[in-house]
């Protein structure tokens, strides 16, 4: 099966469980199982190629310029991990089907699980390290979702947050490390990076890159001092603990160390950091695990300890160490997942995981007892079980490892850790299953159905099989080791076997096992000693760090971000001014290249009006209606300025927008207070005036100097002017730019406009449904209303005007390509015509005559424009390529037909729809607010025969 499908399958499959949720729990689990099984079988189809020692590659260039490509690679190491992920995944899915309760949302659980599975397969199959990082972060996220799956448990939420904080922090460090690595090699492809061991290790940035990447690995794989998140992640449902937090995700860090082993290992830095971190984690985890009373916490710390063991083996940097690590990854995944599932069974049956409340379960739950005992004995390192084999290899390797110049340090600590490991394994068997039967279990323990015990039983069968006949897996382990080592090492000759003769490792093993037994026999005094020893609590330290970081963030942010908009506006204005000032005093200014044009009386008059209106707005802004009129004057002056300076299209647009904006503001002002009260102190007003004057002077200076100098290079509009008629078929260059040269831009723009209008509509809907509705209904107008809301003169006038204005709009639209006009302006003109009907004849009358909803008009516009663009695909041209021709229909002159006109029609419709939808939303608010609004367009209509009572009430109400 193609590697792309292999990675995509779980992601695509993640859509299914949610859909199957209503079909029942078995259907949901069945679909998930089928998805995983398909991926598993697909992986196995690649087995023959892998066994020949070849590498399967698949490649699609994604962002080649950034070095980010979708390259996948399946070699022995990747195959091994993928096999664990998918194989154990299958067992977990079957187990989870029976583990989750009726109240648990199974679709959600399996969706998360499949997302995780896909991300994990992605990590082990990535050939591009940037791609790997993406999958890496995805595992952190899906792990977060799974740990917090039981949202009602505070431990679950806290554990999820902690896991995400720690692993995501490591992930960030790793991104930096990977980028450095990619810079050193000049490629982000693993297959390329793995060829450059010498180049990387000689680089001065090797150590930073190594430390950063290891930070990512250590946080993910819960190595000291980042081990503390893993036990807290145990708040997750047990299938998650078994799958993510023992068999697969926590091994992602180990996978990455193994992946990078050929290029990063073998240096003193690697050896010291990795080996000592692994060794510390191993011993610490084992010691803590022994004294944990929660079954899952014991297993969690034992997982930490075993991950440390594997890390230490990778740290030694020898080929034998790597082989032992690979073998132990396999063995640990089998016995630990089985143990977690057994713990889940005990929890399920006895309703407690507290070891102190358990004991004597062997006769009550014989099947579970058998499974858990075999797995625990394997963990303790008892011969004929797989844990013994890899643990002995570890002890053998430790005997050859010299850390800090002390030959006995590593073997002594490794044996010490193994001794505790044996002790907690024995404690698990002895204190949970052996001993007398009790009569105070929270629930009567019993063996579960096959759905719960079969998955761990399959794993335990593997534990025994590998333990008794290691030669079965030896070729596979060596194959994986060979692929791990790459060119950097040779697979050791040594065979994996049970009896090596009386070698030192055997004696160390014996010490560990018997020492463990002795330690367990003195467990009670040891526990008292442990409980009385003060030791740092990792969670408290973590919480203190988080609290300190939060306090720091608050201290920095709150003064800046205190909820006062005016403060942000002031800070923003001052910052921009300061940046501009800095540029001004440090930059140079050439002499002006243009001469100033003389100003006649008319421009000066316009300027004075603009100045007066703006000054009036500032001084009289407390009278809101007055300032609205003044801003209308400003807008008119700007429009006239556009006409004056050769921009007729702009003038028409500005003018029509001005009308629409003022109507909109008036509608809003209807509800807002009419006056702005005096609130700010004089000092504050002086400060604001200072900022305003500084900003004004700065923009004045900038634009003045700007206008007196020519552009540094030739403007691209030379091209537009030259090609407007030849290529676009229009003489109005501005319009041709809008609908042709930069049509894609315009397309985006009408979409934004449509979204804005829909947003306004949505806000109105929300307001009308909430408490505001009642407030509006009870609202009393604060000013006397006009006697006739719909004056007859205005109604008649607007009705007469409507067809004329529509005609003008149509004309403006048609001529747009060659003369000032076009879709934007025509759209605004038509909107104004329709708005006038609303104003004159009332909302009720107008909306009753409305044939198309404005949402539809927006949609039709965007679709028309889009389909016009797509049309060019059918003739093999890129999106929005335009074409035009000249046609002649006999009575008329010859005229031009351009596809750009269709596009402009889309623009026109979108503008009409957006403007009307916005204004209509505002008037809907107004309509609710006890405004007088009849179905009749005129208050007094001689031609209408109405019953007196109705007419009376409406005039009476209007007179209030």
């Amino acid at each position: 099966m193609s590697l792309f499908i292999l990675v995509a399958l779980p992601f695509l499959g993640a859509l299914l469980p949610g859909l199957m949720n209503s079909a029942g729990r078995s259907a949901t689990a069945g679909v998930t199982f089928t998805v995983s099984l398909t991926a598993f079988v697909g992986l196995l189809t690649n087995l023959p190629t892998i066994l020949e020692g070849e590498v399967v590659m698949a490649r699609v260039d994604w962002m080649p310029l950034m070095g980010l490509n979708f390259t996948l690679m399946l070699d022995g190491l990747g195959f091994f991990f993928a096999l664990l992920i998918l194989g154990i995944g299958l067992l977990i899915i079957a187990y989870a089907r029976h583990y989750l309760g009726r109240d648990d949302n199974m679709g959600q659980f399996f969706t998360y699980l499949l997302l995780f599975q896909g991300a994990m397969v992605g990590i082990v199959l990535s050939d591009n390290i940037l791609l790997l990082i993406i999958f890496w972060e995805l595992t952190s996220l899906s792990s977060f979702l799974l740990i917090g799956y039981w949202k009602h448990l505070p431990e679950g939420r806290q554990g999820a947050r902690m896991a995400l904080a720690v692993t995501a922090m490591g992930g960030l460090a790793m991104i930096a490390g990977m980028l450095i690595l990619g810079q050193i090699v000049g490629s982000y492809d693993l297959s390329e990076i793995l060829q450059h061991r010498d180049l990387i290790q000689a680089d001065p940035l090797y150590v930073p890159a190594l430390v950063l990447i290891l930070l990512g690995c250590f946080t993910k794989s819960a190595q000291f001092p980042f081990h503390f998140w893993l036990p807290h992640a145990m708040a997750a449902p047990t299938p998650v603990s078994a799958y993510l937090h023992s068999a697969t995700m926590v091994k992602a860090g180990i996978f990455l160390m193994a992946r990078m082993w050929p290029v990063l290992s073998g240096t003193p830095e690697w050896f010291v950091i990795v080996t000592s971190a692994g060794l510390t984690t191993m011993v610490l985890g084992a010691v803590i695990a022994l004294f944990k009373h929660d079954l899952k916490a014991l297993l969690a710390f034992s997982t930490v300890s075993h991950l440390g063991l594997i890390t230490m083996l990778l740290g030694t940097g020898t080929a034998f160490g790597a082989m032992a690590a690979v073998f132990h990854i396999l063995n640990h995944a089998t016995f630990k997942a089985a143990l977690f599932m057994s713990a889940g069974i005990v929890d399920h049956a006895a309703h407690t995981r507290d070891i102190r409340r358990l004991g004597g379960l062997s006769r009550l739950m014989p099947v579970t007892f058998l499974i858990a005992t075999l797995a625990a004995l394997s963990m303790a390192g008892i011969p004929l079980l797989n844990g013994f084999l890899s643990k002995e290899m570890m002890l053998e390797e430790s005997g050859r490892t010299v850390l800090f110049g002390t030959p006995w340090l590593v073997p002594a600590l490794a044996t010490f850790g193994s001794l505790f490991s044996a002790a907690y394994s024995f404690r698990l068997i002895g204190h949970v299953f052996l001993g007398p039967k009790r009569d105070d279990y929270p629930a009567t323990p019993h063996d579960p159905g096959a759905g719960l015990w079969l998955p761990p039983a399959i794993l335990v069968a593997l534990v025994v099989l590998i333990g008794v006949a290691p030669f079965v897996v030896e070729p596979f382990v060596k194959l994986v080791t060979a692929s791990l080592l790459g060119a950097a090492g040779v697979v050791p000759e040594a065979h994996i076997k049970i009896w090596h003769g009386l070698v030192p490792a055997l004696f160390l093993s014996l010490i560990a096992v018997f020492g463990g037994l002795i330690l367990l026999s003195v467990f009670k005094p040891a526990l008292r000693l442990w409980d009385s020893t003060p030791r740092p609590e990792a969670k408290a330290i973590y919480d203190a760090i988080v609290a300190a970081a939060e306090g720091l963030a608050r201290a920095i942010i709150l003064p800046l971000h205190n909820g006062a908009f005016t403060r942000y506006a002031a800070i923003g204005a001052v910052t921009i001014f300061a940046a501009g000032y800095h540029a001004w005093i440090t930059g140079t200014l050439d002499a002006p290249t243009r001469t100033m044009q003389p100003a006649g009386a008319v421009p000066i008059a316009g300027w004075l009006m603009l100045l007066g209106a703006t000054a009036g707005m500032v001084l009289l802004h407390r009278n809101r209606l007055l300032s609205l009129i003044l801003i209308g004057i400003v807008g008119l002056m700007v429009s006239i300025g556009f006409v004056f300076f050769s921009a007729p299209d702009l003038a028409m647009t500005q003018f029509t927008v001005e009308v629409v904006t003022i109507i909109l503001m008036l509608l809003a002002l209807n509800f807002l207070p009419n006056r702005t009260p005096v609130e700010s102190s004089v000092l504050r007003r002086v400060r604001d005036a200072g900022i305003a004057v500084a900003g004004g002077v700065a923009t004045f200076g900038l634009s003045y100097h700007f206008m007196l100098r020519d552009a540094v290079s030739t403007p691209i509009s030379e091209f537009h002017l030259a090609n407007s008629y030849k290529g676009g078929g229009g003489t109005n260059v501005v319009n041709v730019i809008l609908v042709d040269f930069r049509g894609f831009d315009t397309y985006g723009e009408i979409i934004v406009l449509g979204i804005a209008a829909l947003l306004i509509y949505a806000l109105t809907e929300t307001l009308l449904r909430g408490p505001v509705r009642a407030r509006l209904l009870n609202r009393k107008p604060d000013q006397p209303r006009a006697g006739d809301t719909h004056p007859m003169m205005m109604v008649v006038l607007t009705r007469v005007l409507l067809p004329i204005v529509l005609m003008v709009g149509f004309y403006i639209f048609l001529r747009g390509h060659n003369d000032p006009g076009g879709g934007f302006i025509a759209g605004l003109i038509v909107s104004i015509a329709v708005v006038m009907q609303y104003m004159a004849s009332g909302f009720g009358w107008t909306s009753a005559r409305l044939r198309y909803p404005y949402h539809g008009v927006i949609g039709a516009g965007v679709l028309t424009a889009g389909l016009t663009g797509i049309g060019s695909w059918f003739v093999g041209k890129p999106f929005l390529t335009s074409d035009f021709t000249y046609v002649r229909i006999p009575p008329f002159k010859e005229f031009e037909l351009a596809t750009a006109m269709l596009f402009d029609l889309g623009v026109f419709l979108a503008v009409v729809g957006a403007v009307m939808l916005s204004l209509e939303s505002f008037s809907r608010l107004a309509r609710l607010a006890s405004e007088v609004d009849d179905d009749h367009p005129m208050d007094i209509d001689p031609s209408r025969e109405e019953d007196d009572a109705d007419g009376l009430t409406s005039t009476a109400r209007a007179g209030v």
Partner: protein, 120 residues
């Protein structure tokens, strides 16, 4: 002429900034509108000022003003209408919902009830 236009941009900016720094929604919206004029005119002037040279191609005429800033400003004008409509709607919704048209949401204000909800 350049001096007039440049000073008009400066005046509009100053007025817009001052009104933007006010405490109630309505003057702030008007201030933003003034700033919009200023920015649009500024963008427009990047094509430099020309009189009687509209970019409408005609026979026998060879000098036109730069059409590109005009096209960009045209869409900017329409978009800024959309944006002011949204802002006005938000301001209106806030006022109708809370009967208060202050733009600042200070946490230490006595009337502010958000604080209690914060810890929940």
């Amino acid at each position: 002429m350049e001096l007039l236009v440049a000073s008009a941009i400066g005046i509009l900016t100053a007025g817009g900034l001052y009104l933007t720094l006010r405490l109630r929604t309505f003057p702030v919206i008007l201030g933003i509108s003034l700033l919009t004029y200023a920015v649009n005119v500024f963008l427009f002037t990047s094509g430099r000022l020309a009189i009687g040279a509209a970019p409408i191609l005609r026979d026998g005429v060879s000098t036109y003003t730069d059409p590109l800033p005009q096209a960009l400003v045209l869409t900017a004008i329409v978009i800024s209408f959309g944006m002011s409509a949204v802002v006005v709607m938000i301001a209106l919704g806030a006022f109708l919902g809370a009967d208060d048209d202050h733009v600042d949401d200070l946490p230490d204000a006595e009337t502010d009830s958000d604080q209690k909800g914060d810890e929940a």
